[in-house]
């Protein structure tokens, strides 16, 4: 058993932490989210220069050679700063699918551009009827000679507005919820037949509803094996789940500490409100939720690092359940204990709360992962 970080891991963590601390103060972040793009291309270039966009990719593919532990460290720090740059959709979702299932030619074509920051990507997997079931697909791809014709509708595609490349899950055979018959396609976002409706999300990210009408794709658009993509999708989603969970742990740390600080200084009825025992115990509960989440974050990351299998899936689901519950508790009570101030848009507290709410939903909420945990 070993809970320590390597020197390289510590360097990575420190460099992200420094960036968040020095270059990502809340006011600047708020300007970004109100901009047309919704994030900063300059920051994205910085990420590329510091090697962060290559963290999960193998050195032979031009990456940093990191794994779940490195992603965890980076995302936890991102969480502390509520970083809005589309790291998850581009690097951790589309990037992971290419990393896991891509043929050499596909990797060579896309990974360097992800790593150097010149390509934005998104993973279009969710459908309105499918809830959190990754196999529940009405989007279809049908053979037409050598080509494929893609037809369907994807909802809440994160980073949809910026994405150059879309990775799309579609059914090539089988019934609507069958585990086999699911395939992945690489689609140029500007291809004929692709139309988007873009919007911000409640946590100030950007997403799209995307319609695919008779989109013609060449055979090299297939990512991985035809009809066998579900396990690949599951792995990518589990990696991303660990990542946003780590982000949530970062959010919770900021929130419980900010609440403690606020309650030490805010006076009511002639004393700091932190002297009220009920609020003290509430903050102790927030602290405990944070620590328990952090514990399962370590477990999930270590299990994922050991190799992807049932143990890892189970650990990720356990972590996601904990983060969902703890995040709700910590977020709601941070707002509550900040009183009116916690309700305002100008204070950062409410924004962490919104991100925690979103993290609970993303990639399956508490109930979903509880059921998955029990079934594994």
């Amino acid at each position: 058993m070993d809970f320590s970080f390597s020197e390289e891991q510590t360097l990575l963590k420190d460099s992200v932490s420094r960036f968040v601390h020095n270059d990502y103060e809340f006011a600047a972040r708020q300007k970004l989210v109100k901009s047309e793009l919704g994030y900063s291309r300059d920051h994205w270039r910085t990420f590329a220069e510091l090697g962060w966009l290559g963290v999960p990719f193998a050195e032979k593919d031009g990456g940093y050679g990191g794994g779940p532990l490195e992603t965890m460290l980076l995302m936890e720090e991102f969480g502390k700063g509520l970083v809005v740059e589309p790291y998850v959709p581009t690097v951790l979702l589309a990037g992971a699918l290419l990393r896991i299932a891509g043929k050499s030619a596909q990797k060579e074509r896309y990974l360097p551009r992800i790593i150097d920051g010149s390509l934005q990507a998104a993973f279009a997997f969710a459908e309105p009827q499918g809830r959190f079931n990754l196999a529940d697909l009405t989007t279809t791809a049908k053979k037409d000679g050598e080509d494929w014709l893609l037809e369907g509708y994807k909802c809440v595609v994160l980073n949809g507005p910026s994405a150059d490349l879309l990775v799309v899950s579609a059914r090539t055979t089988g019934a609507q919820r069958a585990r086999t018959g699911v395939s992945l396609f690489l689609v140029d976002a500007s291809a004929a037949g692709v139309s988007r409706r873009d919007y911000p999300t409640v946590d100030a990210l950007r997403a799209s509803e995307i319609t695919f009408e008779n989109v013609r794709l060449g055979k090299d658009a297939v990512l991985g094996r035809v009809g066998r993509a579900l396990p690949v999708i599951e792995q990518a989603i589990d990696e991303a789940t660990l990542a946003i969970g780590a982000e949530a742990v970062g959010c919770m740390e900021v929130l419980y500490k900010a609440t403690v600080e606020y309650c030490k200084t805010r006076e009511q009825f002639g004393q700091p409100i932190g002297k009220f025992q009920v609020l003290q115990h509430r903050m102790v509960d927030m602290f405990m939720e944070y620590e328990q989440s952090k514990s399962l974050m370590y477990m999930a990351a270590m299990r994922m690092a050991e190799g992807y299998g049932d143990e890892a899936k189970k650990a990720v689901s356990a972590f996601k359940v904990q983060v969902g519950k703890s995040g709700r508790f910590v977020g709601q009570n941070a707002v509550q204990l900040h009183g009116g101030m916690g309700m305002t848009d100008e204070l950062n507290v409410g924004h962490y709360f919104k991100r925690l709410t979103t993290v609970d939903t993303l990639f399956g909420n508490v109930d979903h992962h509880l059921r998955r945990f029990g079934s594994l």
């Binding site: 809830r131 911000p200 509550q336 309700m343 848009d345 100008e346 709410t357 109930d367």
Partner: protein, 395 residues
Amino acid sequence: MNLELDAADRDFQAEVRAFIDAHWPDAARAQARDTVAREGRPSVVERAWFDALVARGWSVPHWPAAHGGANWSPTQHYIWARETAHADCPEMSPFGSRMLAPVLYTWGSPAQQAAHLPPIREARITWCQGYSEPGAGSDLASLTTRAVRDGDHYVVNGAKTWTSGAHHADWMFCLVRTDPHARKKQEGISFLLIDMRSPGIEIRPILILGEQHTVNGVTLNDVRVPLANRVGEENRGWTYAKGLLTHERTGIAGVARSQVALRRLRYLALANGLDDDDVFATKLDELEIELLALEMTELRTLATVEGGGAPGPESSILKIKGTEIAQRIDDLVIEALGYYALPYPAPQLIDNEGPIGPMNAVPAIRGMLYGRAASIFGGSNEIQKNIIAKAVLGL
């Protein structure tokens, strides 16, 4: 003991339903349900509804009959609240009709009553409440906005915050400090009516979680307020303000609103593939039972009041449980929506292109965010529990 309405109350219920059917058409209902609630002046259909209420004498039923109230029994008020909530009827702004009016008809001068009660009753004038100040949250009585006499005026300087609807309001009722040397901080406070067009008033929007604009910061710089606009005696304002806090209990639990919300949640769950989900169904059933209990607790309070008694200790539960249940419903709505809890387009985008996802996804997330205020504003739930501990349990 029985739960049935008696014949007279059943007749009243029928009358209310007929009135709603006549004046609040199905189309208005559907729109109220599926769009984001808007602040400010009533829309055309809302105006028509308020006019019908005024014509029928039902716009301020809880007022004394002499001032235009309807002389209803508590049970009738309960029926009214339930029926209008279930039909999504618009509510009159509470600041004039429920918060200021009782102060005016109890302690206001005849001139003040004549000037201000009719426009409130007719929903022609809107009020906002100037109580909270930066720095004095739950500890309301430590307010510092100063009013100094200058001839037949007060000159008011200070700042108010969390002022709901200040940006639409014609008038503000306001607590100000007229005696900074009073022995107890509660004893140097006066109650003023301030015209919002007065020079020296500045309004700064405070955006609430998710960029919603309902509350404001209000600064008062040398605002001149005629002495005639002071309600009651100087330095007794705290008594008036505090009196009205106990004045109004019916509806504080929000039972009817939560019933409507829970019914919609069940529909939403069905529409989102949760119909076979025992675990989710259990959460809904648990909530429904809690809500039934709250409704019965409210009815017990009503019965005591109807019998001429003071509300019993059970009434102190209403706000705490009411907000807990409402917030829990909001949380479950988010759960039910799945990914469609995320989109947060600007209202104009929805107007132009229609909603994203199911019809009520957007009001839902907005409602959840704003709903967090329910356990904070108007005396946080922690303060409520302090009050019960002291007043009910004698601790």
